[in-house]
């Protein structure tokens, strides 16, 4: 688990660099080793050849010196034994006087000369003043000796002197031999792998250690390799799991630094993978929640269990571009050797939230509609109840007018009052009738309707209101009048709404300028458009955006339902209702309804 933790910390790094690291280390090691080894081997070869050469010359010298010693013994014996038997010096005149005079001594001295010559030659490799001096001395002593003997060992004093010279030469050669033996021993001690037990022991130990460490290094590399492979496989499996998960997954370490994400997380938050790694997890949360999140995550670490995050809270994710979106998060602990890691599974619930909101709005509309219909039914009931007294008033007024005409002294004013009473009663009855008709919940029946006539009716209907508000209604009808397929009552309701709103919007507009323009127009796309423009205070962008929301109202005491209902009605007809600010003052509301032929199609 630890390794996974590590790999999570630097996923790409691990994969790309384990191999590189291993090869670099191995390569550097091997290169260093080989260069050291080859350097040392070169040095050793060099040293060895020098040593061997030196050895050879040392040994030559030693062997020759021993030969000289033996030969000199022979010469000494010969001198002692035969000196006085020598032939007369007169005979010593030819090319090889010594050989002629003392054949045995002469022969041996030739051998000694050759020995000394070899020794002298051998010394030249050493450039050592000790050797050179002694070699020179031996050569000198030899020629003195030979000269002495060649002179003829005719007198005892000459024999004594020859013996002394012999001893001197023997000493010099022996000194040389001993010096060479000493040097040879020194070299032999210094020479690696020679018969020195301590050096051999040290070398054996060092060699063993090196061999062991070398093998171990290889083993360790192999183990690393295997471990890496195993890790790679488990990492691969884990990665596959992560990637196949439907949700975004973000894994953080105990310091809440992101160590691993899947590609769904990349898509969801808009960051690239490398942007996530090592960053605090708060990067995915709107700034205003950072403090709260830090506290919460500390608490989570004290009791890390698999559970949803922030239950009963609306959680918000924050994309790279700063936009926010609703999320649901499930937290799960992962125990690693580096502490507790936390795996967050993040689900983008934007769509669900939208659906929820729409459903809520739908419920609002439904409840409103049901209230309206309740009100409508109540209104119908009231209208029904009022209708009879109004009819009675009208009837009584008619009767009273007839009675008054039969009375001659009846004042003229009374007759007029009775007449107005009857008119008003009839008008009240009409209003009640219209109210009843308007509020009566009827099945939506769409009929071919003359749009201009419909608008004209509504204008008449709202005329009392507009007159009271000192507002001019201007009608601009398209000719010929568009024939639309609509539920006449519902569209009237929409228009009434729009006109009332327009009137309300111009309460602060000077009376001279208060005007509402209503237009009709047949469009090319099979729709007819109706517009209602005012010159009022207009709507801000925010108000324009929300003007169709339920329970939104710019008016004091407004219920905020009119526009919502109007839009529902228009959209139910397959049209659209929208608002746009005028170039000058005020707002234009427009809606479309289908033309009759479009419906047939």
């Amino acid at each position: 688990m630890k390794a996974i933790g590590q790999t999570r910390a630097k996923p790409t790094w691990w994969f790309s660099n384990v191999g590189t690291y291993r090869f670099v280390v191995y390569g550097v090691n091997v290169t260093l080793l080989m260069s050291v080894v080859s350097f040392m081997e070169g040095q050793r070869q060099n040293y060895k050849s020098t040593t061997e050469r030196m050895n050879r010359y040392h040994l030559t010298t030693v062997a020759e010196a021993i030969a000289v010693r033996e030969h000199l013994h022979v010469v000494e014996d010969a001198i002692v034994a035969r000196a006085l038997e020598a032939r007369p010096p007169t005979a010593i005149s030819s090319r090889e006087p010594l050989l002629v005079a003392y054949p045995r001594i002469g022969t041996v001295l030739y051998l000694v000369e050759a020995n000394i010559e070899k020794i002298t030659t051998a010394q030249s490799v050493f450039h050592d003043s000790n050797f050179e001096e002694l070699a020179a001395r031996s050569k000198r002593q030899f020629s003195d000796l030979r000269a002495n003997i060649s002179d003829g060992l005719t007198q005892p004093s000459k024999v004594e002197s020859a013996k002394r010279q012999l001893a001197g030469l023997a000493l010099t050669v022996e000194q040389l031999r001993r010096l060479h033996t000493m040097e040879y021993d020194k070299l032999a001690t210094a020479l690696p792998l020679n018969n020195n037990r301590h050096v051999q022991l040290v070398i054996a130990i060092v060699t063993t250690l090196l061999a062991v460490s070398f093998v171990f290094t290889r083993q360790i590399f192999k183990m690393i390799e295997r471990a890496t492979d195993a890790l790679s496989r488990s990492e691969e499996r884990y990665r596959t799991l992560l990637e196949s998960a439907p949700n975004a997954i973000v894994i953080v370490d105990s310091d809440a630094r992101i160590v691993l994400v899947n590609s769904q997380a990349e898509l969801m938050f808009g960051y690239r993978r490398e942007d996530f790694i090592g960053q605090p997890v708060e990067m995915l949360i709107p700034l205003r929640y950072h403090d709260r999140h830090r506290q919460k995550r500390q608490k989570y670490l004290q009791q890390p269990v698999l559970r949803p995050m922030g239950e009963q809270l609306d959680l918000c994710g924050c994309r790279k571009d700063g936009s926010e979106f609703p999320v649901e998060v499930t937290l799960g602990p992962i125990e690693t050797e580096e502490g507790i890691f936390v795996e967050s599974t993040i689900h983008d619930i934007t769509v669900r939230k939208n659906l929820e909101q729409e459903a809520a709005e739908y419920r609002d509309t439904l409840s409103h509609v049901s209230r309206i219909s309740t009100m409508g039914e109540m209104a119908t009931g009231i209208a029904h109840e009022l209708n009879q007294p109004l009819t009675a008033i009208a009837a009584y007024s008619f009767t009273a007018k007839g009675l008054a005409e039969q009375v001659t002294e009846c004042p003229h004013e009374l007759r007029e009052i009775l007449e107005k009473l009857e008119d008003q009663a009839i008008r009240a009855g009409d209003i009640v009738q219209r109210l009843r008709k308007f509020a009566t919940k009827t099945d939506s029946v769409r009929t071919i309707t003359d749009l201009n006539a419909l608008v004209g009716d509504v204008a008449k209907f709202v005329e009392p209101d507009s007159r009271k508000a000192e507002t001019v209604l201007t009608l601009e009808f398209d000719e010929p009048s568009p024939k639309v397929m609509v539920d006449e009552i519902q569209v009237q309701q929409v228009l009434v709404n729009l006109i009332r709103n327009a009137i309300d919007a111009m309460q602060e507009t000077p009376t001279s300028r208060r005007e509402i323009t209503i237009s009709t127009r047949a469009l090319q796309n099979g729709q007819a458009e109706v517009t209602v423009s005012d010159v009022g205070k207009g709507l801000s962008n925010d108000e324009l955006e929300h003007v169709f929301d339920a329970f939104y109202s710019t008016k004091q005491g407004g219920m905020g339902l009119g526009m919502r209902i109007s839009r529902t009605i228009v959209e139910a007809h397959g049209g659209t209702l929208w608002a746009k600010p005028n170039n000058g003052a005020g707002v234009t509301f427009a809606f479309t309804v289908p033309l009759e032929n479009s419906h047939e199609q």
């Binding site: 050793r44 001893a167 000493l171 022996e174 050096v199 070398i203 060092v206 090196l210 061999a211």
Partner: protein
């Protein structure tokens, strides 16, 4: 692959070690010869005899080196080692054991030895009437060594006996130590011990000057040759000075008449160069006997 690399590594290490050794050996550097060279000689005879013996050498060294040389005499062996230790003498003529002591304690550097000094042997002698002809025959007999501290009367013979797997204390019934070589020989003659260990030169000289009769003893065993005496110098003396001194000794040749006198006085036919390795056996046995540390 590993084996080759390991071998190469071995060589590399070996080369390193030898480099190290070479480096160490070349470490000491000292001055040239001192203005006055003080020569200490082993007090194995009376002061007058010693002065007579070494005066020609002193004069020769003084002339050939071009500096003043002085002879210094001591009462006993220990005194010369101590004098060497406190630097009172520059050049000293040591016995075998005194030299390894001076080397162990004060890093004395061997310089030269007489030709005869490398040809010492010791005899194991028995009375002529004893019938055994080799050492094994004297198992569980009493043996007499010379002085405990004598190189030729005790230490070197003990070393060579050990090489034959003979530990005197267990092999022989009794181990005596006599003060001198003469006493050893006398002890054997008197029957104090069946066999005695004696310096071959001394034994031969005893025979030569009639102190013992040739037929009185027979030689049971002779040790291999070993080195005994040596001229050594202070370690502070530099390479150059050491070489100058050694060359002066090596140049003494019997072929020259005046040299012959000097050499004859010291009982030498000439000098050979010497190294510490010459005394490795003695060093070993001295360590074993806890005579040096």
């Amino acid at each position: 692959m590993e084996r080759i690399a390991a071998q190469k590594l071995t060589f590399a290490i070996a080369a390193l070690l030898s480099l190290l050794l070479i480096g160490c050996s070349g470490k000491k550097t000292g001055e040239d010869l001192p203005p006055v060279l003080k020569i200490g000689v082993l007090p194995d005879e009376s002061r007058e005899k010693l002065a007579e013996r070494y005066e020609p050498l002193r004069r020769y060294l003084s002339e050939s080196l071009g500096l003043r040389c002085e002879l210094v005499f001591y009462e006993n062996y220990l005194a010369i080692v101590e004098a060497f230790g406190d630097g009172s003498i520059d050049l000293a003529y040591f016995g075998g054991l005194t030299f390894v002591q001076a080397m162990a304690a004060f890093d004395a550097v061997p310089l030269v030895m007489r030709d005869v000094d490398s040809r010492f042997t010791s005899y194991v002698v028995a009375r002529a009437d004893s019938t055994e002809t080799d050492l094994a025959g004297y198992k569980n007999s009493a043996i007499a060594f010379g002085s405990r501290l004598s190189t030729s009367g005790h230490l070197m013979p003990r070393y060579f006996l050990a090489e034959q797997d003979i530990t005197p204390e267990t092999f022989f019934s009794k181990v005596h130590y006599s003060a001198t070589h003469d006493a050893t020989v006398e002890g054997v003659r008197d029957g104090t011990a069946e066999i005695g260990v004696v310096n071959s030169l001394i034994f031969n000289s005893m025979v030569a000057d009639g102190r013992i009769e040739e037929g009185e003893f027979h030689i049971v065993w002779e040790t291999p040759p070993y080195s005994n005496y040596v001229w050594a110098v202070q370690p502070s003396l530099g390479k150059t000075g050491r070489k100058k001194l050694r060359d002066a000794f090596l140049a003494l040749s019997p072929s020259t008449e005046e040299h012959e006198e000097i050499l004859r006085n010291m009982g030498a036919g000439g000098f050979y160069p010497s190294t510490a390795a010459t005394f490795s056996e003695l060093n070993e046995i001295a360590l074993e006997m806890e005579l040096i540390q």
